[in-house]
Amino acid sequence: MINKSAVEMAEALSKGEITSVELTKAHLKQIGEVDEQVHAFLHVDTQGALEQASQVDAKRSAGEKMPALAGVPLALKDVLVQKGIPTTCGSKMLEGWRPPYDSTIVRKLKENGIVILGKTNMDEFAMGSSTENSAYGPTKNPWDLTRIPGGSGGGSSASLASFQAPLAIGTDTGGSIRQPAAVTGTVGVKPTYGGVSRYGLVAFSSSLDQAGPCARTVLDAAYLHEAIAGHDPLDSTSINAPVPAVVAAAKDGNVKGMKIGVIKELQGDGYQAGVLKLFNESLEILASLGAEIVEVSCKYFDYALAAYYLIAPSECSSNLARFDAMRYGIRSGQGSAEEVMNSTRQIGFGREVKRRIILGTYALSSGYYDAYYGSAQKVRTLISRDFESAFKLADVLVSPTAPTTAFKIGEKSNDPIAMYLNDIATIPTNLAGIGGMSLPSGLAAEDGLPAGFQIMAPAMKDDLMYKVGAALEVELNTKWQGPILNSAPKLGAK
């Protein structure tokens, strides 16, 4: 059962073929067997998950009408707070902290009867592209345990790819849902900014952060998307409009007559040949389904990475100021408050987090603000305009999700720029606040590892990504004679 899709599991539950407790136990068993190797989870809430599952079972047997995903288990990225459950954000700083409140996402998951198995590993405070920046050790890619599972949400993507959970929640500031999906052969969606509440999402960069669904199929992601999306009065930046009908779009999957724009700037130099080949094959499939492929140019994308690495660190330097040992988290040092703050921040934060705090503090300093933060905001506007022009020519835009397949653990840890370049194709959507999806495009010829196909849609037209993604997925699954994860190596007890 654990190899099935979430929708199939939900069907089995509603037909009474399996109980949520049984399903949850099966996943807990898989976690027990494989997570020692993968290290996807930072905390497994066995008791809480089973209690939640038995409540769902009780309601179902009492004849209550159940939400679509009721009883299906899920892995939660450790950047989202859950009442009473340790939340570390992959940082030593928050070791032992148990939040006194639920994030809006967690509240919605619970309302939907979705069983939360535990918290997944991540780059510290979501800063990274490999999950190597976790204070609790890296997560391994289930396709090759010597490789990275992407980041920052590598724990969530790896848990899906190793069948420890059929659904997961990720957060995406510059690609942290989509790039991990790409390198693990799974599906990840960053909804339109404001589509899913950020209340209870520990902020890295407030104007870029967006939580979204991670799954093994487009339809699974759509169901999870509808479960967590919608207006939240607790988040001022949450959009007060109906949630796009993504489930209907994923079920429809008809691209006939749609215009699909290929972004010229997101291919070529720096992209692995096998990744580009798979991307082009996917384009051919979409064309064969009746879509029209057009090329568009977004010339300011060349500045996206630079703008992102000013805006995100600037916001993070302010967002992470609250970790000062006064109210929660670890405390180190003696003497004055200032000395304690200093000492705690010294040992509590890892290198990458410190690098970004320093960068952002500098970029916001008086005398530098206009040159750095101010200019970056202007670039952001120009990138949004690039997208607006492109969407006049195409309904959705596409690119490879990441330039390469999964690299080796340790390969790029001492070269931040090489690491940052991994997000070159995903960052523009965050800057513009629009939605992006990654789904598997196949295994690259060079290394036999998964690559991702990215679909981007205009703001609040997230349904279009699901429509295109679902259409492509059907054809690819036929080509591969089943889901791509069937080709992944089997993990098991040693």
Binding site: W97, S103, Y199, S236, T237, D324, R327, S365, S366
Partner: protein
């Protein structure tokens, strides 16, 4: 030997800048739903948002925005159709997020003014105080530094943090530089804060209690030689907790600056702390090196864009200006200028008005609040409004006097008892056994006893020596233990002795 104020103003021209922080009287905080009641047990009015817990997000209190717009309109400001919050970044333990959500380069109200009048030996003088901006921000928590001698953070053994105040909506009202006050600078500053307080109280947006910190004034002062164009270095005095202190602090700073300048020393740009007991200021934080707060637009909040309709609605509901109201009251009560100024100075105008509204005679109401009650308030060094006596109490006492059920002397006892917290007027009269002996027959009996005891005096009165009646009246009053109405005793006595 301290310089005399007259010597300061003979040589220097002062410039002022006043920053007033007002805690808005909203039921909930600026960015969350927590209560704002003053004086609750520490850290009981907090939540993930105002504690700055990881993941929590702010949501703007709509009422606070309406209040701020009302303040802006009352101060003749332009209301920005689009303004934003910004983050002011600095580390301090009582600031939960280590940034304060405030407004920076896009405040909600700009360019207003407030007209004030001061009473001087040369007659009343008018000044227009120009307002630079009115903006919103959140208050910080409170640090209580324990141990050590000073209550300051330096030398303390440890500090206690109370976040109840964190996130209380604050409005900051900043004047442009106020020039041309000359020797009246301290009075002008006091009158400005007083007038501003009346405006805010009239709007009902804050309880404006300086001693509780819901209205706080930072006074910037600088001096330059008369005739010089260039502004001198300023100091910023904090901890100014009463109207009187505003005046005292500015006067004290002017003298301090002048002494430094006279001895060719430099005025240091810094914050100063005012001390009520000595009337002097001491050095606080240096502002010589501008602090870099790394302001940037608050990404967790959307811009504030009040509709024209909302602004118009708030404008149409503004109460009349305090100056207009005062003029109306003065005419209705027919009070001379001096008396009016005295009521404003003693901060009893609202109380008198409330008492009159309850049916009391304006002259009687005024004389009680300005006389006996103001005297007690002064003794206790508190505001009359903070005494345990209300306008309703005073109105009731006045009614009893008019009815003849209390004499002025007895009424003073009742008022004293009210202020001591002995209960309601009726209860005090009952438990203290206060009653006017107004029954004519018992009074007559007492009068006859007095006459019998001093027949020679009675004879003098009969013979037309009216002043001699004083001794008889005194005897009756003594017998009644002061409870008889002296005027009535006099009437009855004179009539009885054929002089009525």
């Amino acid at each position: 030997m301290a310089l005399k104020y007259e010597e300061v103003i003979a040589k220097y021209e002062p410039s002022l800048g006043l920053e007033v922080h007002v805690e808005l009287g909203t039921a909930s905080k600026m960015f969350c739903g927590c209560n704002t009641v003053f004086g609750a047990a520490a850290n009981t009015q907090t939540c993930p948002v105002c504690l700055g817990l990881p993941g929590a997000l702010p949501v703007v209190n709509g009422k606070a925005i309406e209040y701020t717009i009302a303040i802006g309109l009352a101060l003749n400001c332009s209301i920005a159709p689009y303004s934003r919050f910004a983050r002011k970044n600095y580390f301090y333990p009582d600031m939960p997020k280590n940034f304060q959500t405030s407004q920076y380069d896009e405040p909600i109200c700009t360019n207003g003014y407030l007209d004030i009048t001061i009473d001087t030996d040369e007659g009343s003088k008018d000044f227009r105080i120009e307002i630079e901006r009115v903006h919103m921000e959140e208050d910080t928590g409170k640090s209580l530094h324990m141990g050590g001698a000073t209550g300051r953070i330096h030398g303390a053994d440890y500090s206690l943090l109370d976040y109840n105040r964190a996130g209380i909506p604050l409005v900051e009202i900043v004047t442009k530089i106020v020039n041309g006050c000359g020797k009246y600078a301290p009075e002008v500053a006091k009158a400005y804060v007083s007038e501003l307080r009346d405006v805010l109280r009239g709007l009902g947006v804050s309880d404006v209690k300086m001693e509780q910190g819901s209205l706080r004034c930072d006074a910037n002062v600088s001096l330059r030689p008369i005739g010089s164009e260039k502004l001198g270095t300023r100091s910023e005095t904090k901890n100014v907790n009463s109207l009187k202190s505003v005046e005292r602090a500015i006067r004290s700073e002017m003298i301090r600056h002048a002494e430094l300048l006279n001895s060719n020393q430099r005025v240091i740009q810094e914050t100063r702390h005012f001390h009520e007991d000595t009337g002097l200021t001491t050095s606080g934080r240096s502002k010589e090196q501008a602090e870099d707060y790394r302001y940037f637009p608050e990404p967790d909040l959307v811009p504030i864009a009040p509709s024209k309709e909302l602004i118009a609605k708030i404008a149409s509901n503004l109460p009349e200006k305090p100056s207009v109201r005062r003029k109306k009251l003065q005419e209705a009560w027919q009070v001379p200028d001096k008396e009016m100024a005295a009521m404003i100075n003693a901060e009893v105008l609202d109380l008198v008005e409330a008492t009159v509204k309850l049916g009391a005679d304006p002259t009687r109401a005024r004389s009680w609040w300005l006389g006996e009650i103001a005297r007690i308030a002064n003794e206790k060094a508190v505001a009359a409004a903070d005494l345990a006596i209300s306008a309703a109490d005073v109105a009731e006492v006045i009614t009893l006097i008019v009815k003849g059920e209390l004499t002025d002397k007895l009424a003073r006892q009742v008022v004293e008892a009210l202020i001591n917290g002995e209960g309601s007027v009726a209860k005090i009269i009952e438990t203290r056994g206060i009653k006017v002996v107004s029954d004519d027959s018992s009074l007559m009996a007492a009068i006859e006893r007095a006459i019998a005891a001093a027949p020679d005096v009675a004879e003098k009165v009969r013979g037309g020596n009216i002043p001699a009646s004083g001794a008889l009246i005194g005897a009756v009053m003594k017998e009644s233990k002061g409870q008889a109405d002296a005027a009535k005793v006099r009437d009855l006595l004179l009539k009885h002795l054929g002089q009525g």
